[in-house]
Amino acid sequence: MATIEFRNVTRHFPGTHRAAVEHLNLPIEDGEFVVLVGPSGCGKSTSLRMLSGLELVDSGEILIDGKDISRARPSERDVAMVFQNYALYPHMTVADNMGFHLRIAKRPKSEIRQKVEIAAEKLGLTPFLDRYPRNLSGGQRQRVAMGRAIVRTPKVYLFDEPLSNLDAKLRVQMRGEIKKLQGELGTTTVYVTHDQIEAMTMADRIAVMSEGKLEQYGTPTELYDRPVNTFVAGFIGSPGMNFIEGAIDADGGHFHNDAGLRLALDGTFTPGRKVTIGIRPEHLRLAEDGFGANVDLVEPTGAEEMIVFDIPGGQATASLRERNNLRKGQKVGLTAAPGHVHVFCGENGNRLEGRT
């Protein structure tokens, strides 16, 4: 049981031109599953490692249960980490790997054995306890790495891209299992990934980072429905949001671009203001009275069709549920409900809300 809080945490590696993590503020509640997500190099691992104590904190504080632990040794923080490459001790059996922390803590052998067996049972590792890591599949190694963490019953679990070495199918299965396990154990968890689907499916709250800064922190639905800027808007959702640059009409209630595309907006905005609008592919739909679009590419995925359209002033991807039998070159009308059109400032990309 533990709360975590990053307070103004900065880490600047010597000899690099920008801070790896800059003024990070991130409160995490007891029992919460928080995912740090963002493109490569945005500082996710650095944040996690500062929390674990494997990386120095230059300034700011990290609190666990209200106590600043940013200068404490890793072993004093009572956190368990699952590494991307699992970091299993190759010369120890699965049981010894899982019991290593307890062995170092000088717990009695019988207690270690018992706890390891309970954890192994939970993870379906019982038949493998006497094997060496080299004789396990990737998925099983992954489980051992998790087993090593849960045997300890620490205050906090940390995961750094734990699934990235698994194949797609196993990844989906494991992410479900991790989520379920965390729910059962109720232990506060910080999970790093660059995969936004992983983030969306697993997280209670997601922290989206970019270039060392926190862009947005919220529930998956908040991030999806109300991204605070074009970065988050483009990062969350797959395929990514369509962006169209242009300006607000004189009436304040419509968007248009130079190529003649025009769309109704939700609420009113400053007339003439330069903006970028964003529409998710799943929110575009065919409509007689919509703006003109030409089919460029049709990609059926089975459940839906991914269609790339040439639209006035660029391209847009739509994912359509119903089968429309569209062919390349075909001319159709496209539209999106005003509530599904996100408006961002044309200069800094921040979200704009219309007045009602």
Binding site: S75, A87, L88, Y89, P90
Partner: protein, 306 residues
């Protein structure tokens, strides 16, 4: 580099293969069949054949009489002269020398590793400013020939009263072994993944526990290689032993053989006995090579790769 074969088998499980690295590496490995191979292969075989021939001839000669050796050098011995070995062992004072050499050799290997392994681990891992100059310093030590420092060393050892002492020689052996040992093991430790230490750190292990329980066992193949190379080097070592040892009871095998050779030259040379002496020196080393050769090569190439 990703494709490098890991000699410690336990390790393969720990690091998942990086699929992306494979095609590039594989292409590289297959295109070295050029002129080097064409000339190199026969040359290597010629060299091997020559060495085997010399060895066989040496063993054969050690079982012949002196006159046989000169009159029919290529024939097998008429009657096998086992007593050549008895003569060498007894007259050459070999029994004492073998004991001295075994103790000295093992003692040197053990002490060298006991000092070099922790030193190398620290140099490879702890990012202190002085780490890389210190590694360089050790590397430079490898290049200094023993002959060059033998006189000053003699003066120093004399002051400490450690001339004509097996302990003194042991100190010298360990000291002169360290540069290569530290350099070799630094490369070895550097090739082990750092995540393991981080995992151990979070598991609550101290730096020393991490070294002893995690890193040392993983570096086993490097350490064994080093031990073998070190043992062979000191089993044969002559220069220091010749200069620093004086009395018969403290001689090592190589010096004893040298003295035995001198003695043989004066009294009506027993060449069979002499060859027997050489065999006593050489065959144990050869046995070690045959027994652990694979291990040595794997350990060496890993070290060289870094």
């Amino acid at each position: 580099m990703l494709l490098r074969k890991m000699p410690w088998p336990a390790f393969r499980g720990g690091v998942p293969t990086q699929g992306a690295g494979a095609p590039a590496g594989a292409a590289k490995a297959s295109d070295n069949a050029g002129p080097v191979k064409l000339i190199g292969l026969p040359l290597t075989w010629a060299f091997v054949a020559f060495n085997i021939f010399v060895l066989v001839w040496m063993v054969m000669s050690s079982l012949k009489t002196s006159s046989e050796i000169f009159e029919v050098p290529w024939n097998l011995p008429e009657v096998i002269q086992w007593e050549n070995f008895v003569i060498a062992w007894r007259d050459g004072n070999f029994s004492r020398a073998v004991l001295n050499t075994v103790l000295l050799t093992i003692g040197t290997a053990v002490a060298t590793i006991a000092v070099a392994a922790p030193a190398a681990y620290v140099l490879s891992r702890f990012k202190v400013v002085s780490a890389s100059p210190m590694t360089m310093y050790f590397a430079i030590g490898i290049g200094i020939p023993a002959q060059l420092v033998i006189l000053p060393l003699y003066a120093i050892m004399n002051q400490f009263g450690m001339v004509n002492s097996l302990w003194g020689l042991w100190v010298l052996y360990v000291a002169t072994s360290l540069p290569f040992a530290v350099f070799f093991l630094t490369g070895f430790f550097a090739s082990l993944p750092g995540e393991l230490e981080e995992a151990a750190m979070l598991d609550g292990a101290s730096a020393f526990q991490t070294f002893r329980i995690i890193m040392l066992p993983l570096a086993r193949s490097g350490i064994v290689t080093l031990a073998i190379l070190n043992t062979i080097a000191h089993w044969n070592e002559t220069i220091f032993a010749l200069v620093f040892l004086q009395t018969d009871d403290r001689m090592t095998l190589s010096v004893t053989l040298l003295n035995f050779m001198k003695a043989m030259q004066y009294n009506n040379a027993n060449w069979g006995g002499l060859f027997a002496g050489v065999c006593i020196l050489v065959l144990p080393v050869l046995a070690i090579y045959l027994w652990l050769g694979r291990q040595i090569i794997e350990g060496m190439t890993l070290g060289a790769d870094k």
